[in-house]
């Protein structure tokens, strides 16, 4: 086996040194009769060529986003990742290192995480951020639990504009918390403030919403704070924060979101990178790892994992969360891409995204029978189509157009004729024209 350096001679020598005859003599603690004779129902090892062929065949059966017009968003976005980003994250020293428990020889990772935390805090307009979560949905659930710990209340009001799968995750994971979910809200008409009372730990609001609408967080924050509740602001499109006011400036107490948009590929849903930011005063209730600045024995600046007394490997059943692994490598990709962008690049990128989405919305709105539901949006909006959205999307796919996400696929209670449509800097004018033409021609 090409990955195993021990030779038969080595093994014999090692067994002698250990003082046993066969390697099975080291498995004597396995209960009698339970040592298996290999994995008889699985094939033998294969050459690199053969594995490559098998997996390439599977990959070839999927319609890659780049293979034609593509308008799918709804929580994951196709952006351009500079080649240098993917190159850098594959450096052995980043790719094949572990969690930076030994800070002295992990300064690379630790400084990157410190940069990441600062970038996320600035992007969201918050004071502090952690070193990443699994993804936006789990970060959102953690935010709800954190809000409950902070307020010692056990009710969460969830906006109907929240991504339906995020809502499902909160429902599933937030043990002991009663989730009051407002109805799905394709038209941005909900009155969240009215749902808040003084039993509420937090109100969870996404902007841009799942349907693409932009929500004014300020009055909601005010209402929440008046009731002693916290505002958890959610975003699934990090690029949007280059164009719209950040949650921190609008009164959010916790800002969470999906960071995939920056630096990370679509990957069929994972791995992604959850962003989590809050106010300084809440930091000791924040889940996840943190890199903190300090000095070494010579007084040189350096970084360490800090506040680990919140974490499970120290606190065990008293930990703030059961989360252990973070999304280090995805956070690295985020940080490098964000460093390349800088404020100027991010603003321009956001502007271009918005431009493409506007062009797409205008083109689709001109298709007879199709209407755009949004007054405001960033790079994503919802259309109403004649007929069943799921079928329309399937028909479009037959024309090699991936036209968006039928709302009913995620939320069976939603109207069946809605499609969430996204555009990014990858969307070309030809893509838009083709979409409008084919959509208009569907019978």
């Amino acid at each position: 086996m090409r990955y195993h350096p021990l030779t038969a001679d080595d093994r014999a020598l090692m067994l002698r040194s250990i003082g046993v005859d066969t390697v099975d003599d080291l498995f004597t603690d396995v209960p009698a009769g339970h040592l298996v004779e290999g994995l008889l129902d699985l094939p033998k090892g294969r050459s690199e060529i053969s594995v490559e062929r098998a997996l390439s065949r599977m990959a070839g059966r999927n319609r890659a986003a780049g293979a034609g017009p593509f308008f799918v968003g709804a929580g994951a976005y196709r952006h351009h990742v500079p080649a240098s980003v993917d190159h850098l994250i594959q450096r052995s020293e980043f790719l094949t290192s572990y969690t930076p428990y030994q800070a002295e020889i992990s300064q690379g990772t630790l400084q990157v995480l410190f940069e990441f935390q600062t970038q996320v805090a600035r992007l969201t307009g918050m004071e502090v951020a952690n070193a990443s979560m699994y993804d936006g949905s789990t970060a959102t659930a953690e935010a709800v639990m954190m809000a409950s710990r902070l307020t010692r209340r056990t009710r969460a009001v969830v906006s109907g504009g929240l991504h339906p799968q995020y809502r499902d995750v909160i429902d599933t994971v937030a043990t002991g918390i009663e989730v009051a979910a407002l109805p799905a809200d394709p038209t941005n008409a909900e009155d969240i403030a009215a749902a808040i009372d003084d039993t509420v730990a937090c109100v969870v609001v996404q902007t841009p919403t799942f349907y693409g609408h932009l929500v004014d967080l300020a009055p909601i924050a005010e209402a929440a704070h008046a009731a002693g509740a916290l505002l958890v602001a959610v975003f699934t499109e990090a690029v949007a924060l280059g164009a719209i006011e950040p949650p921190g400036a609008l009164g959010a107490d916790i800002a969470v979101g999906e960071g995939q948009s920056i630096g990370n590929a679509l990957n069929f849903g994972g791995p992604y990178v959850g962003l989590f930011a809050t106010k300084k005063k809440h930091v000791r209730q924040m889940p996840g790892r943190l890199s903190g600045e300090t000095v070494d024995a010579d007084g040189k600046r350096g970084y360490v994992l800090t506040l680990s007394t919140r974490e499970q490997h120290i606190r065990r059943d008293k930990a703030t969360s059961n989360i252990c692994t973070n999304s280090g490598l995805c956070a690295l990709a985020f940080t490098i891409h964000m460093t390349l962008l800088g404020e100027k690049g991010l603003s321009r990128l956001a502007h271009l995204n918005h431009a493409r989405a506007c062009a797409t919305a205008d083109a689709l709105a001109r298709v007879p029978g199709v209407s755009v539901l949004n007054d405001t949006f960033f790079n994503e909006f919802t259309i109403r189509v004649p007929g069943e959205a799921e079928r329309v999307v399937e028909r479009l796919a037959e024309w090699n157009i991936l036209g968006g996400v039928p709302v009913s696929r995620l939320d069976p209670s939603a109207p069946g004729d809605l499609i969430v449509v996204a555009a990014t800097e990858m969307t070309t004018e030809e893509d838009i024209a083709e979409y409008a033409e084919v959509l208009g021609g569907l019978k």
Binding site: V23, L39, P43, S56, R63, A64, T118, D168, G342
Partner: protein, 490 residues
């Protein structure tokens, strides 16, 4: 090797990405357009490259040397797997594009599920958990759902004291009361100790096997039987599954649910702390409770709870989308490359290497549980340092100066000053021998009272010992420009 922060070198007007300027258009941002500056500095591409390449060189990595972190399984990360995960047909597909356009993705998930079930002897697998701890959550939720489905309520989860911290944290997160089980002298759990705690209020036991002392629990089957008899479930922490792949099947041993750390056992790269991936295999009794999304045996994907058919009772959803596809590809590439024979060889070589270290170091360091064969890792404690004034921490830091990453320290908690060493199957014999020689030399130094070699270490690392207390007491978690700059900015 002081590398400044990007906030010290970059400028908000600098960018390393050229973005096309669109033609004029009417904005739809309404009143939401950003007014607050972000203060995000940028760097050009050459500056960015250099900054991160230089930073990377301040990391240790498995590609640089032996990385004996017990329980973390730092083994070789084949680059084939990276290449496969980047095929556009895997990396450039969207989780919500029509399922009819991603049959290859579903095929891959089904193939992976087949391998996982075959290796563990289990019935079903929930792929979506994002990491080991997330998998624990999934498994324990399935157990909770199964208990609820029987109309029962149980409040207690049993956890041996040697367990990973995530075990009690997970049980607590689900509202369970955690009761600890003491290990025996020999580092393993006795069926009697378990039986003592078993009652109608016990929902499950969470047992790591091989356990965190690197020992195979010899009474695992009896424990499983006792637990089942009490109407409870057996959660197996699969963090150490890499020791027994192809040698023993958790399903045969009575496990009801077990998460599998794809980044440990199947070598998806750790990336400085993630991403992981923690699929959970489930016994027949628990299979109906798998969360959405799950694959049916016929390959169809159930995405929503309301799509569940007869006998399907998903307990909910753990994450948006389908889980860590990028990791599935890498893990499957690893499995196919090894095959049944290679996977077994990997387990055997890992166990062999650990026992070889144990044999070669037993006379100079203190093996905590010398009487049982070690599995893939071997546990030492600090008794051999007694009276030297040198702690496990010091010993670990001295390893850095010898060019090694230290072993896992102070875990598990069952011995004093634990040193948990896991060499893995990726090391050659000369590499193991050099490591042994180094540890023997350090042990000799400690014996001979060369204290400074330890307490002053590391001297040859990018940083000397870092002040963790200062950082925890007054945490600095984001960059803040020094005062003069702030003034200038005001």
């Amino acid at each position: 090797i002081h590398e400044p922060l990007i906030f010290e070198t970059g400028h908000v007007a600098t960018t390393g990405v050229d973005v096309e300027e669109p033609a004029a258009f009417e904005s739809r941002l309404g009143g939401h357009a950003r007014k607050t500056p972000i203060d995000l500095p940028g760097l050009t591409e050459p500056e960015t490259m250099r900054h991160y390449v230089r930073l990377s060189r301040q990391n240790y990595a498995i590609d640089l040397g032996l990385y004996p972190l017990g329980s973390c399984t730092m083994k070789h990360n084949p680059r084939l797997n990276e290449k496969m995960a980047r095929l556009p047909g895997f990396a450039d597909i969207h989780p919500l594009q029509p399922l009819s356009t991603v049959p290859g993705a579903l095929e891959l998930m089904q193939e992976l599920s087949h391998w996982l079930c075959a290796m563990t002897g289990m019935t079903a697998v929930a792929l979506s958990p994002k990491a080991g701890a997330h998998g624990e959550l999934a498994g324990m939720m399935a157990i909770r759902a199964a208990i609820a489905a029987k109309g029962e309520t149980r409040h207690v989860v049993l956890v041996p004291e040697s367990a990973h911290g995530t075990n009690p944290a997970t049980a607590a997160a689900l509202g369970y009361k955690v009761e600890s089980i003491k290990a025996r002298e020999d580092g393993t759990v006795s069926v009697e100790a378990v039986k003592e705690k078993l009652s109608a209020d016990v929902a499950a036991i969470m047992l790591t096997n091989p356990n965190t002392c690197g020992l195979f629990e010899p009474e695992v089957k009896a424990i499983a039987d006792a637990v089942h008899e009490a109407g409870a479930y057996f959660y197996g922490d699969g963090a150490n599954f890499n020791a027994i792949v192809g040698k023993a099947k958790p399903g045969d041993l009575g496990v009801d649910a077990m998460h599998i750390n794809l980044h440990k056992t199947f070598s998806t790269p750790h990336g400085g702390g993630g991403p992981g991936s923690g699929p959970v295999v489930l016994s027949e009794r628990l299979a109906p409770f798998a969360p959405v999304p799950f694959l049916r045996a016929d390959g169809t994907l159930v995405e929503r709870a309301d799509e569940a058919g007869e006998g399907e009772m998903p307990f909910g959803r753990l994450t948006a989308f389908h889980g860590q596809m990028g990791m599935y590809v890498r893990a499957l590439a690893y499995m196919m490359s090894h095959g049944a024979d290679g996977l077994k060889e990997a387990s055997e070589d890992a166990v062999l290497a650990a026992n070889y270290l144990k044999a070669q170091l037993a006379d100079v360091m203190s093996v905590s549980f010398p009487d049982r064969p070690a599995m893939h890792e071997v546990l030492f404690d600090e008794s051999f340092l007694k009276g030297s004034g040198i702690t496990t921490l010091d010993f670990a830091k001295a390893m850095i100066d010898e060019g090694y990453h230290p072993m896992t320290m102070y875990f598990p908690l069952v011995v004093h000053g634990a040193m948990l060493i896991e060499p893995t199957e990726s090391e050659s014999l000369p590499s193991l021998d050099l490591f042994i020689a180094t540890l023997r030399d350090l042990a000799r130094s400690a014996r001979e009272g060369d204290t400074a070699r330890f307490t002053e270490a590391p001297r040859l690392a990018p940083r000397r010992r870092l002040d963790e207390t200062k950082s925890a007491r007054k945490p600095v978690l984001t960059y803040e420009p020094p005062a003069p700059y702030q003034e200038a900015a005001e």
